[in-house]
């Protein structure tokens, strides 16, 4: 698993902070107490279909603290993705409130949410969703285009992110020229390019073989332990879940109490 170049760790990490030359106010007033990064209160999501109602989430209350690495597990259709989307502000609950990084998402407009996501949240998908006509470096630079950083700062920042995932030497390659595992690492670099506090990932290892999956998980581990990023990862894979500090289970839209699993797991 040693192929990822983390030896330069400390340097790279400080770079990621330094390069980001634009003002990004900390959402936290003081860091004296353990800060809450994401909190949902009585959050439900109900889909009203012609035939019936589908309750995707049922009164979910969850608190994710700064520095957490939480794995969300549960059977298919239990509402994992739905919960992640609500926290990312790309979906809205039917009832209840989501507060993420001290922003009350329910009160924000779509464009405010977009800007907020760009600054504070990184999203990693199961299928890597890289832009095929852009090089690895350009893909990582994409979210930085919205920041107002100078072109040279953007490039430096994107390179730092690529170094963090150990793919600086592949920055000129297009997605087609990269393996699935490498593409997912580029996607992670893209997610962390704007140095967000919170990283959300939906089955990030779902399309990967076990070696590539391990590389990805090791990157998340580093981001969590060394850069202090808060990570929420939806996964089916118990092996992946083991990389997390905590695992919570969803079943039929309900969040099970900490430590409890669905019966047949």
């Amino acid at each position: 698993m040693g192929q990822v170049g983390f030896d330069q760790g400390e340097n790279t990490i400080s770079h990621l902070h330094q390069n980001l030359g634009y003002e990004k106010s900390s959402p936290f007033g003081s860091l004296l107490e353990m800060a809450i990064v994401a909190q949902t209160t009585h959050v439900s999501k109900v889909y009203k279909l012609a035939a019936a109602e589908v309750v995707a989430l049922d009164e979910v209350n969850i608190v994710v603290n700064e520095g957490d690495f939480l794995a969300l597990m549960g059977p298919s259709g239990s509402g994992k993705s739905t919960l992640l989307h609500l926290i990312a502000g790309i979906d809205r609950p039917s009832s209840g409130t989501c507060s993420v990084l001290n922003f009350n998402l329910g009160t924000m407009s779509e464009s405010e949410l977009a800007k907020w996501r760009n600054q504070y949240v990184g999203f990693v998908f199961q299928s890597f969703n890289l832009v095929p006509v852009l090089s690895a470096l350009e893909n990582v630079e994409l979210p930085l285009l919205l920041t107002g950083l100078s072109s040279s700062k953007r490039k430096a920042q994107a390179k730092t992110a690529l170094e963090l995932v150990g793919l600086a030497d592949r920055m000129d390659h297009t997605p087609r020229q990269l393996s699935g595992g490498q593409q997912q690492r580029i996607a992670i670099a893209r997610a962390i390019a704007t140095d967000p506090q919170l990283i959300l990932c939906d089955e990030p290892t779902g399309n990967l073989d076990s070696v590539s999956a391990d590389a990805v998980l090791e990157i998340f581990h580093t981001l969590n332990t060394q850069l202090g990023k808060t990570i929420i990862m939806v996964t089916h894979d118990p092996h992946a879940a083991r990389a997390a500090k905590e695992v919570r289970y969803l079943e039929k839209g309900k969040l099970l109490p900490a430590g409890e699993k669905p019966k047949d797991w």
Partner: protein, 451 residues
Amino acid sequence: MTLATYMFKNALRNKRRTALTAISLAISLTVVIFLKTILLQMTDPPEPKRPSARFVVRHRVSLTMGLPRSNEQKIREMEGIVDVTPMQWFQGIYKDEKPENWFARFAVDPDSFFRVYDNLKPASEEQFQAFRKTRTGCLVGRKLEERYGFKIGDTITIRGDIFDANPELKVVGFYDVTDDQPMNDWLVFQIKYLDEMLGETTRVSSFFALADSPQRLETLLPAIEERFRNSDAEVKAETEKAFQMSFLEMMGNVTGLINTLVTVVVFAVLLIAASTMALTIKERTREVATLKALGFSRGHILGLVVGEGIIVSTIGGLLGIGGSYVVLPRPGLLAACAAGAIVAIIIGVLMMAISFILEMKQDSKVRFIASKYGAIIAICIGVVITGLLVATMPTLDWLSMSGGYVMAMNVRPQTGLLGLGITVVVGVFSSFWPAFQASRMSVLDGLRKVD
């Protein structure tokens, strides 16, 4: 990288599709600019550098009705007239009916002709005298000398079409044009010879006359019309420019027709561009959703897609406008390009049909070639045909091809601007709807879509 770079890369993502959209816009623009240029040449021909005191007197109803020759003397007696000359449009056929053998032939009176056309000069006094004295003599413009290599003593036989006469003319000399008027490809011969062949003093299509000043025309023209009112041939007296424009009236409401055509062409290319763009953006649904998840707003998406549309249309627009500036003034090149384009389109459509039909029959090799290389093969054949035609065709010019009515097809600035306007309109309007839809699409719907 910048957002503009990203837009450019998006525009060039599907190169074949972008090329097809750009080329269809380029061809449409060439058609539009061609039509508009012709229209302008006819409705607003370029002004001669200095105001002309020359004018035309013709039959009130139609050129073909002709005026009695006795009118010459009556016009000459009017106040402010310097000179009058009868001119009969002979037309006829030289060699064959091919457009490249088309040039203007007039039956004239040698003395008064060169006094009224004071911008035309016989090459020498001897040649002028020879023209006056030779019953079947003719003078030709320098351009005809160049084109056919006529020499003094050559015989030119013109087959009559309007007239039942086949003049056999002897080249006795040449004339030069001393100003910028496009009159250097005329053939003039003695009207006396025409009378002789026809056995009567023929009526003439027009009298050209010279007033003592351009300002005089304002009063002189109505006075001449008045002079012949209630005679058996009422006349119309008009400036040379108005005379040229009167041919337009003969063609009916050309302006309306051309503007309708232009609208139809623009609308068609807009539809092509819009449906292509819609398809392109639909294929990119997931990517748009990803961008939104990364923090791109509705405005960003709208801008990206409309920008891409403008890039594609600008490629086609510059190609079409630039091409028009180069090709339109040269009818030979235009014909060669048009022929090449038509052949390329036919072969392209055939290739498409072949690949469709064979797809159903599952024949592999031919289908593979037709679908993969069809466009390239079609374009190559088109280019080769254009090249061959350019190499083998004689140089043509608009003046002789249009029978003297279209002097030149130089694209004017306002026509170029119209082309730019159409380019922008097509770019914005073809992409706005797909852009709007993409910007409104929810991230979740987009992400759920399977590629």
